[in-house]
Amino acid sequence: MDPSALARFEETVLPHLDAAYTLARYLLRNDHDAEDVVQDAYLRAVRHFGGHRGGNTRAWLLTIVRHTCYSWLRRHKADARAIEFDETLHSEIQVGDDPEAEMVRGALGEALNQAIDGLPVEFREVVILRDVQGLSYAEIAEVVGIPVGTVMSRLSRARQRLQRALPVEDYRRN
């Protein structure tokens, strides 16, 4: 990469560092792993920058970050269940160990975080990309590599699961 290409890269790709970190952090659920993966993703991005002709740079970068996260997860096997993901098989929610205790604690934010962490990564990523990062369905389709209709149905299911996983009383009061 020559200095002018680097300048272009720094101008167009570097500003999306927060977005890259946000996605990696929510997918990997750990600060240090997220930092490692984002660094790795930026290295890959630099190498493939020549092939990126304008377009949506944020979506392009997030596609690479997502790939890098998945490689990481596959290597570390922590989320092995998420890799063999099945749309219909994974339709049951995983309720927290003690929903009543969570209710008593009453922190909706904490409950939400736990509920999000409990989602298979394929569901989690569409919620993060949409509701945390504000991507359009078309952009999510590009990043995840699925049709727009699938984005919609996954998001629908993910939100249903989250609603069911949350302590109802607490949540309604909000």
Partner: protein, 258 residues
């Protein structure tokens, strides 16, 4: 439309991602279906709760700087590949010809290659600083503010001379990378022109300022007071040389003091 077929579309409707026709169908169904209306409301609340409780995150500063370092290392590697190629070609040619002067030719190419490597990095550093939003890490015209800022960030304490009265006001400073090492980059102004002054320790106690031009930029470098400095700007050569002489005088003066 049945509740069953509506299911996913409710989500698309909530997110305003449906086209007009599909949205109209959902609305028609909602007017006559209490349970889907309730589901829509539940999903709306859930979405609001996610947006309120799961914020977009800010990348830690150390990640930001390590990504920058990594990018610069990529450029260096690419440049080294480019400058090594003719060096190897020259070495090979010297070996094949077996000329007495062959070795000298090759070594001359190496040292020349090394130097132009630094010039290229200086130019790249200058261009980078102007194109991004990263001209300075610390923006101040006060050298009493800029100098302490470097403390603990570098393994040396760079001189931060004040040339305001000479017409080169200080703009600020930042950390940068040249070659294998972290350097101090001091930023000065001259009318509308920006001057980057890169400084790092060097064993050359004294070297006369030498000038070069590359891609419309003038570069002057020298060494004094145990420091190597490179000044670069699109300023005219005369004024940049004047600036470099001020730097050389200041650095030399600095070491003369106890």
């Amino acid at each position: 439309m049945s509740c069953e077929t509506l299911s996913d579309k409710l989500t698309g409707y909530l997110d305003r991602e449906l086209d007009e026709r599909a949205a109209g169908e959902v609305e028609a169904h909602l007017r006559q279906c209490v349970s889907c209306s309730a589901r829509l409301e539940g999903e709306r609340r859930l979405r609001a709760a996610v947006q309120a409780h799961l914020p977009p995150l800010r990348a830690p500063d150390r990640l930001r700087s390590s990504v920058r370092t990594l990018l610069r290392a990529q450029v260096r590697r690419a440049q080294r590949r480019q400058t090594w190629l003719p060096t190897w070609a020259a070495t090979a040619a010297a070996l094949v010809l077996g000329l007495a002067g062959g070795w000298q030719l090759a070594t001359w190419r190496v040292s020349r290659g090394d130097r132009s490597d630094v010039v290229a990095e200086v130019v790249a550093g200058h261009v980078r600083s102007l194109q991004g939003t990263h001209l300075t890490d610390v923006a101040s015209s006060e050298h009493h503010t800029v100098k302490p800022w470097f403390a603990g960030k570098l393994d040396f304490s760079p001189p931060v001379p004040d040339f305001t009265t000479e017409g080169f006001p200080l703009i600020g400073g930042r950390l940068d990378y040249l070659g294998e090492r972290q350097v101090a980059a001091l930023v000065y102004g001259r009318r509308q022109h920006v001057i980057n002054l890169f400084v790092w320790p060097s064993r050359d106690s004294k070297a006369l300022p030498a000038a070069a031009s590359r891609r419309g930029y003038h570069v002057v470098h020298g060494a004094a007071g145990g420091m190597t400095y490179w000044a670069i700007s699109d300023l005219n050569e005369t004024e940049l040389s004047q600036f470099a002489q001020l730097v050389a005088a200041d650095l030399g003066h600095g070491t003369a003091q106890p």
